[in-house]
Amino acid sequence: MHKTDGDRRVTRYSIFSLARNALKYHEDWPQAWRSPEPKPSYDVIVVGGGGHGLATAYYLAKEHGITNVAVLEKGWLGGGNTGRNTTVIRSNYLWDESAHLYEKSLKLYEGLSQDLNFNVMLSQRGVVNLAHSEHDMRELSRRVHALRLNGIDSDVLSREEVQRLIPILDCSSGARFPVHGASIQRRGGVARHDAVAWGFARAADARGVDIIQNCEVTGILRDGGRVTGVETTRGTIRANKVGCVVAGHASVLAAMAGFQLPIESHPLQAMVSEPIKPVLHTVVMSNAVHAYISQSDKGELVMGAGIDTWNSYAQRGSLFIVEQTVGAVCELFPLFGRLRLMRSWGGIVDVCPDASPIISKTPVEGLYFNCGWGTGGFKATPGSGWVFAHTIAQDRPHPLNAAFALDRFTSGALIDEHGAAAVAH
């Protein structure tokens, strides 16, 4: 049952292996991933051990047969935005380019637990976007119509249907921002964020990828216009292809390679209430009242906010954003007033002017960037890794990410998703 490969031992996870290990007091489980010393060189270096970086490495190995890959992570894997996001997954984006990319990701999510042999607890409980005005309804309807023609499930709900679906939501007409209706993507939902990182890490490791934590990239080595490797806190590591997937730190890495990105880093906060017995069974978002919320399988309400307007690399933000978010949640769900906030935290998000990502070659040959996911890239994790692996392996974008190249800022062909991205998620 144990597959051994050097110091790599993999046990397939299942109810049977769990029971078998229970008999041994769980003292025989192997490591989920190794912690190898970095080799002097690799075929591909992926900088950033968040979900996107790990997925990139996994798909490089799985889809392109490139296994001599290192993922370099300055801290602990999954400790960036992957470990601090509110886990909302959906593909209901307005423009065709985004809809197709996020839908690819959602499809991958739908088989991910089995593919990775790690339960990422994808819970397709539905994502509801509330409309509080005629203008909201119009925007939402435009998006739903486009999605349907793109073959992505999406429906408009009337106020009555919303109320039936979410009985504790205040749908009364007396509300300051009364609910007019909503859109719903029933295949949307949440997944366990840490499990996504860990699952990709374990599966990538099993295919031979070296995951190297506590290894910060401090310089990008170039020879003429070509990348040749990276400088790290654990020494120089060579590679002719380097993919940077460092979310909030994208500009820092770009500066190391000598160029600028159309990106600014902002704190984005999220928070959880104390755990309570389940009362909310869908994900609810409201751009106008400005908050979104779901209830985790452990019972906490997971709530998300907007960004602080200033640039920051500190994973913290201002209290009034938390207060504003909590206030919005209480406005939508007035019976939550007596619940209590248990923890709030922040991440550093990389925001593009058009609220769409960059998955692109760069001015430096062999150097690729995948960034700009801002407030909403968790849902894209598998898809982003999948297209980025393709981009790196083939040195050209996959049709799904061709439109997300850096040159769109020069041509002006931006993919403005502010409406669909709206209140950060």
């Binding site: 500009s251 880093s265 640039n311 002017p353």
Partner: protein, 94 residues
């Protein structure tokens, strides 16, 4: 919850302000002559340092004046706030 010293009104709560992003950017006067790439740099490429940052703020809920600031993007410490037109202060060491 920053405390921001408006160069005119003095220290005030963050609530009264809005951040306007990178400071000391000036509109291209020769915009029509520059290439698309240069124009894109002006429109979209931004300093986004991990450390001291020259940026601009507007005292929207106060005197409505725009001003410049040097703030650290990790500690959030303000090194200086100053009026438009005043020279860029040197960055503190560290």
């Amino acid at each position: 919850m920053l405390l921001i010293a408006c160069p005119w009104c003095g220290p005030r709560a963050e609530l009264e302000f809005r951040c306007g992003g990178q400071g000391h950017l000036t509109r291209l006067t020769d915009a029509m002559e520059v290439s698309d790439a240069e124009f894109a740099r002006y429109l979209y490429m931004r300093d986004n340092p991990k450390g001291w940052h020259y940026e601009r703020w507007n005292h929207v809920n106060g005197c409505r004046r725009w001003f410049n600031a040097v703030r650290h993007t990790v500690t959030h410490e303000f090194h200086a706030t100053y009026k438009p037109g005043e020279p860029k202060p040197d960055l503190p060491r560290s």
